[in-house]
Symmetry: C2
Subunit: 327 residues, 2 copies
DNA sequence: TTGAAAGCGGTACCAT
DNA sequence: ATGGTACCGCTTTCAA
């Protein structure tokens, strides 16, 4: 059996309380005592049980991180950053993959609620009121989703769209398609809205296609719709769709970017690996993951609602393969 | 505050023990009692605290899943499968990313040991004896790594290499390069060994290059080394290296596969997206993740060491872009 | 079948 | 500065 605080106390010849103090608040015990405790701890290889501590403090030292799909290349960057930051805070991360299913997501959150100090919810699929309800029970930070005044961190999608459309307009495109992602996606609604608004401002015509699933197959499926819309450029809900478009375009004999230019969102790793490389709107995932944990940690520490409970992170267009029409 | 078992007991007019039983072993309480408890549970929205339960049972209902780098496209597939399977068992998953650092890995394992019922270690980077030591404290399943008799699940790397080399030999290649991954990687050693053995058997000449880091940049760096070795085909430690090779080859004006054919390992998503698509040795990641959790669960349940504590999963070559030399 | 009570491994308050 | 002790929420004997 692993050593308990009792064993340490006995070996050190002090009380449990002193051991607990020596470890948690070293300056509340006499150096001599501290020494003896430390020695005993070392000899026994003692590690306090986080779970026992959790029971008595109400703090688990663990946060829940929920993502819709860890295999979606958009998320690992965020997860990694969050994970790293958490470790700096001495927090463990309970990762849950909801498989893109709102019901699973809610169930997972409910199950984990007792085991974590708070949640970072990445692009949660659950309905607003469900999220609000969760927020009542436990600190929560939303990533890539905004629900009322709940603490959340999003990317500046509207500005990303603006950069993308301005780029295409500058290249001479007059008519572009937007391939929509899932209807249920908050981000998709944001981008779609921005596309309409910005296009109008820029005097561009927009053809909306989709929605399609936000993956390679979705892009493949959307390709023919896009072609039928006779546009010279297309903005895809995300890079995977963009990649799917490219693939299908190649099969249909449509050259990219000569015939159609493509701009994606997310700057997933694969976007840089294909040729021509995919122009995309990048989002600072590291910053997002880190900031999410920072914010959650603040909430947990109850440093009463930090000023910036709602952050919007800048996006930036990475121009790669895209060119003007009739090139 | 969330309701506790006490609240339920009071509301139901029974003792804590009865509530506990009604929930854990319903057939040990009279139906009438069970009813009252269930009603109270529902009314209060009671959810037992896993952490309190853990303290008293010694079971946390959580397993630790450690990966070297969740952003490495090889792992999400495994993680996802493991996650899903765990949920079926009612287990939560504590995911830790060791950032490819053996020290971090060990530290993370030690920290989490008290909070989980067991570990699934994906391609652990820690030294053998460290792993053995961990195994003494708590059930552990190794994925993609073999250490003595420890429970582990690996892919049949030797056979994967055999398929790859047989493929290249059949295409007419006589001299191939192997681009090595990290020296510390057990899998790399396996593959390197197999390359030597199989090549000898097939009468192929082998040029070993590297080691390089197992990512895109590593492949880029390796490209020039490979070219200097004047081979017509190359087997890369993994797909990311293969992709890096392709990229650099393009810049150096070397055509793939006309001048050099490439075979990677892992079948990461991006391998199918590039053109020409990358020929690769695929490994059943889902099966691996699932089997890992199954095995660990058995170990935890202490169904004394299941027969197959050491599994080897079949790999299979996916032929895509590769062709013969002087094509 | 049910209830009382003793832990599980810590923390924290209260004395000393 | 230190020790004693009452919890934290649940499970699990042990009696009744």
């Amino acid at each position: 059996m692993a050593a308990t605080i009792k064993d340490v106390a006995r070996l050190a010849g002090v009380s449990q309380s002193s051991v607990s103090r020596a470890l948690a608040t070293p300056d509340q015990v006499r150096p001599a005592t501290r020494e003896r405790v430390e020695r005993a701890v070392a000899r026994l290889g003692y590690r306090p049980s986080g779970i026992a501590r959790g029971l008595s403090t109400g703090r688990t030292g663990t946060i829940g991180l929920v993502v819709p799909d860890i295999a979606n290349p958009f998320f690992p960057g965020i997860v990694k950053a969050a994970q790293r930051r958490s470790r700096e805070f001495g927090l463990a991360v309970l990762l849950a993959d909801s498989d893109e299913d709102p019901a699973t997501e809610v169930e997972v959150i409910r199950t984990l609620t007792k085991q974590v100090d708070g949640f970072v919810l990445c692009a949660p699929r659950a309905p607003d009121d469900e999220l609000r309800s969760v927020c009542g029970d436990i600190p929560v930070v939303l990533l890539n989703r905004r629900v009322g005044p709940l603490p959340s961190i999003i990317f500046d999608n509207a500005d990303g769209v603006r950069q993308a459309l301005a780029h295409l307009a500058a290249l001479g495109h007059r008519r572009v398609a937007y391939v929509a992602g899932p209807r249920a996606s908050w981000v998709n609604r944001e981008r779609a809205r921005a596309v309409r608004a910005v296009a109008a401002a820029l005097g561009l015509e927009v053809a909306e296609t989709g929605p399609v699933s936000p993956d390679f197959e979705g892009g493949v499926a959307a390709a023919d719709l896009v072609l039928a819309a006779s546009v010279t450029a297309v903005i895809a809900y995300n890079d995977m769709i963009g990649l799917g478009l490219m693939s299908r375009f190649a099969i249909r004999g449509v050259r990219v970017p000569a015939d159609v230019s493509i701009v994606g969102f997310d700057d997933i790793p694969a976007a840089a690996l294909v040729s021509p490389a995919l122009t995309t709107v990048a989002q600072p995932k590291d910053q997002c993951g880190r900031a999410g944990v920072d914010l959650l940690n603040d909430l947990i520490e109850d440093r009463d609602r930090p000023a910036a409970a709602r952050l919007s992170l800048p996006t930036r267009l990475i121009v790669r393969g895209s060119t003007g029409p009739e090139h």
